[in-house]
Amino acid sequence: MQEIYEWFRWLNQATGINLTIVYDSYDRARMIDGFVNTIYLSFVCLGLSVVIGVVGAWLQGSPLKWTRRLVNGYIQLFRNTPPLVQMYFFFFALGSLMPRMENEWGIMEPILSNWHWAILSLSFFAGSFNVEIFRSGIEAVPRATVEAAESLGYNRLQTYMHVVLPLALRVCLPALNNNLVNLVKTTTLAYAIAVPEMLYVANQIWSDSLNVPEMMTFLLFAYVLLVGLLVHVMHRWERAMRLPGFGA
């Protein structure tokens, strides 16, 4: 390892390409933290948004008119307003209304931190797209299949969990992948409310070491790599989940 650090130090002196995140232990630790935070944020939001999508799609098929209207209103509101404004609205506006609590050092702080708000707003944003995606998948399940399940004595929830959802999931996987990739890219917005994810950390590092081009390029490639990895995994999953003779 030491040789690698030395080589990057030499690279800095010889060419001026200053990659502090490799040879400087403090910057390296910060960047690794940022990378882990980005992945953590992505995973939590991925999970939550899928849950929101599944529940929302189920509610949207409800026989109650007002439940359907409420879900539709949520979808339209979150799909047609900028995610950054949503995040500001959640963090600054709703956050200011939240009660404050004393932490272990006796300092008053809001119940929900910027982490919580980032996770909430990103999940709700991606979830609104997921609801529509799951709904289109559910609509693609043949009516006869649902009727067959009903005739076997399944109730609405059981039909949904055991018959409709597994089939719908396969139909909507491509669209879902797209949305999840988008979500990973949207996690950069958490920068705006000071969540220490990769972009935020990179910003701190280039403010300290004045190596903007290197850090920007690193960031671009890191995100392209991360997204590429996700796309690859999801494609594998898509292929593994394929039912012969069902869907395209």
Partner: protein
Amino acid sequence: MRGPSGERLYGTTDLPVLLPAAERLRRRDRLERASGGPMLRLQAWHGLALAALVLLWAGVVWAQGEAAGTEQQESVIAAIWRWLPVLLGGFVFNIAISFMSMGIGTATGTLLGIMQVSELRGLRGSSWVVTQFFRNAPWLVLLFYCMFLLPFEFTVLGLTIPFPDWIKAVIGLALPVMANVSEIVRGAIQSIPSGQWEAAHSLAFNRRQILWQIILPQCVKRMLPPWMNLYAILTMATVLASVVGVGEVMTLTQRVLSAENRPEFLVPFYGFVMLLFFVYCYPIARTTQKLELRYAVKQ
């Protein structure tokens, strides 16, 4: 459709193709027959217009109340009303940025998309790499990239051309748009049945003629819904420019809020910005849906 005594009613149908509309029309007709006159047909935008009218009216009333010289603190609606020109100006700037980015992105993206179906292997491969790269990079990171790495002025032949922040933002937003348009164009070209190509070949068109005179005109219709969708996404992404310090609606809102310094204004002001974007983007989304339905190929 049968009337109460079983006779056929004029202007109704039993045809299955019209069932969704027929159901709605039948219900409306029944209501109109019962009331003996035309019904008021309310749509979503009527409610929106009404809400806007009420807000406007309330704002005027409050502003007048202020003018009457009461010593109370200014109300939220009056404050929004007072700052409305500033906020709307910022929003117009957002729209201007989105127009310019969309223009640049569409022009370059179309070229890139056509390059993706080129017969030259190198050209095809490299344009694919460029498309995937810019499609997979987050918008905010691309915006930062352009902000920090483009110079703030160019010197050409001793002439200094300033390069303000908002132009850099336009370029930064145009890059992902370019990549997305490229994918839309490629998808549309590949969705045209190969019979079209073969028929054109047999009529002695060359490749360029086929592309420009036969394939692309057919693609326009298919590309329109995803292109509009992309435009809505871009409009919502213009807010990102506030993070890098361009004076658009979000930046202005934050300045207004810090100038007012009243915590109870946070919710309504941020809510107002959301409303602005919603009012602009929702009709686009609805139109996109309608176009998609109209152009959908029956399978």
